[in-house]
Subunit: 213 residues, 2 copies
């Protein structure tokens, strides 16, 4: 019943690049930030539905595979689901098309309730007005003993980390300097005090840092 | 004739912790930031004049030893020398006592010239009103074919990096989150484009990242 967070960061700690637009919801730098992750065999199969069998199989892929293992429910912020980009569209169903790469229930934290959304592959979005603690209790109920992921975005993850609710934080640091966007660490002074921190370098140059309780 | 920079950073890119005071010129977090570096055999011998032979001898010590190898001159900002903490003290001779751990000429960039300072071990501080390019030309003349270090502080290093004057940047990232202080990367967007970036994890948990041309 671990509560887990996995994020891609730039070397300067940017978790959400600048200048998101409806057409380019993660900002122009997103592609470079997640390129090593997107190149893995696991992500190509699981997220991009690429059946070619291609993709990297090293350290990055090991983390990508672990990302999809053992999660029973997820919590995400309204912005990550897309409610800030499309606030007035009652038909918005998320960024992921009709086969979202989850397969489990997802709680979307919002300020205004909406009816839940169901997909054929077991993904179910439920919209919730709740504190982090309240959302976590509900997610743990839905996860049936499996792990809960806090998926993002930046402010949602930061709130859960600051509240001490996260058991394991894994950041995949791409060695690029973005200098523009939302930084993860600003409200997390001395986060390391509650965790054991370990690191590993992937073949791609990505630095994987794990905070584990 | 490489132009080199070596810095200690927190995981969130803080190079100069908050709240410096004359009594604690590097801020209260400095000790934690540089603890793995200060624990090396090389730094204990070279900086602290510890003759016990104790100290770590792993990856951190290899970088510490390289730090002292092959440098013929150094450039530093006025703040790093201490002129901001003691602006009106004509007798101020730097933080390092009568045996500064340099042994070569150092150019201190300032807005007001002062007479040079000489020490018995070959360290000589010269105060210079100059652009980064001008200071570098003078330092290369003094270095006699050896490398030039840009020592610090944050704004001096950032100016040299932004001007494209640095051949090798090595950052030793201590896996702690400070969240307060001066960040290195803010003016260095896409710095990686001019360099090959490689990384290595030390036994201490420090992440050594090197940008090399």
């Amino acid at each position: 019943m671990t509560v887990r967070v996995d994020l891609n960061l730039s070397l300067d700690g940017i978790v959400m690049p600048a200048d998101p637009t409806p057409e380019n919801p993660m900002g122009e730098d997103w592609g470079r930030l997640v390129a090593p992750y997107a190149a893995t065999k696991t992500v190509r199969e699981r997220v991009m539905h690429d059946t070619s069998g291609e993709g990297t199989t090293g350290v990055d892929d090991r983390y990508a595979a672990a990302y999809f293992e053992g999660v029973g429910a997820e919590i995400m912020g309204a912005g990550m689901f897309g409610l800030h980009a499309f606030p007035d569209d009652p038909d918005w169903r998320g960024w992921w098309g009709e086969e979202p790469p989850f397969g489990y229930p997802i709680l979307v934290l919002t300020h205004r309730e909406r009816p839940p959304l169901e997909f054929a592959n077991g993904t179910r979005f439920e919209f919730l007005v709740a504190t982090p603690e309240g959302a976590l209790e509900r997610a743990q109920g839905l996860a049936g003993g499996a792990d809960v992921r806090v998926g993002g975005g930046a402010s949602t993850v930061s709130a859960f980390l600051a509240a001490g609710l996260v058991d394991r934080l894994h950041v995949a640091i791409t060695p690029i300097v973005l200098a523009r966007g939302v930084r993860l660490w600003d409200d997390l002074r001395e986060l390391e005090r509650d965790y054991t921190v370990s690191s590993e370098i992937a073949e791609s140059g990505v630095i994987h840092v794990t905070f584990e309780r």
